[in-house]
Symmetry: C2
Subunit: 121 residues, 2 copies
DNA sequence: GCAATAACTTACCAAAAAGTAGGGAACAAT
DNA sequence: ATTGTTCCCTACTTTTTGGTAAGTTATTGC
């Protein structure tokens, strides 16, 4: 058993899972991987079905875990953008592989998927 | 949106997640990746904390999704073993990467992890 | 001044995932 | 005959996760 931040993990895969587990984290991360940096609103619009609560909660956790960086790009009209940190970028092979595997799966099962059809703006 | 088996997915990453999401699936798959094939009991002993319910439930889903193959190796004393199917093996880069990333993370944070310390038999 | 927009937060509720505890068939070993 | 082992299944409960809806602050544009 591995202990880290008061939680126990069974193996290194489990440790990694601790950072990216759950319904939304990998989707947010991979979205940032393809789109570089996005505002809160852009993220919400491009993650169909996510609620504001989930988005801010997950972003907060990703920030805490240093996978995502939040930059305040303007103070007077308060505007931010989110992007992958170096740590977040170190998971890039994962985003690439999981996307590729998904695309391949869809192809092999005759479901047509147009690149970026999930981007709404 | 992508529709597949009555569920909807937001992007290819989400599709992949549909197969390996949850607390146990990646742990089971990566265990099978490193150990080739295991009996039900061996799996249970090497996935600390898993309940029998979870193990059989997840194995069943992995079988249904064709990521894992169950072979009856003996009928008279009923013995089986589980192993990765070709489809399951096609996810190998994932097991390798996630394990490597976890090990690296632990190393960088001064937590010592001995290779295979999670194997109990 | 008033509606609109960005970037959130909060309280509350529902659903899904996981855990607990037990049972049970089939054989093997003593 | 009794105990142990493998390989599960089922009902029930708890925990975790996620969803809904509303509210908040600040600012821009008309």
């Amino acid at each position: 058993m591995i202990t880290l931040n008061d939680k126990t993990y069974t193996c290194p895969v489990d440790v990694t899972l601790g950072f990216i587990g759950g319904k939304w984290k990998l989707l947010i991360l991979s979205h940032l991987h393809w789109q570089q940096q996005r505002s809160y609103t852009q993220l919400r619009e491009n993650l169909p079905g996510i609620s504001e609560k989930m988005l801010s909660q997950q972003l907060k956790e990703l920030e805490r875990d240093l996978l995502v960086t939040k930059s305040v790009i303007s103070r007077k009209p308060y505007r931010v953008h989110y992007s992958l940190s170096e740590e977040g970028k170190s998971l890039s092979p994962l985003y690439e592989f999981m996307s590729g595997w998904g695309v391949q799966y869809l192809k092999e099962h005759g479901i047509d998927y147009v690149q970026d059809q999930h981007l709404y703006k």
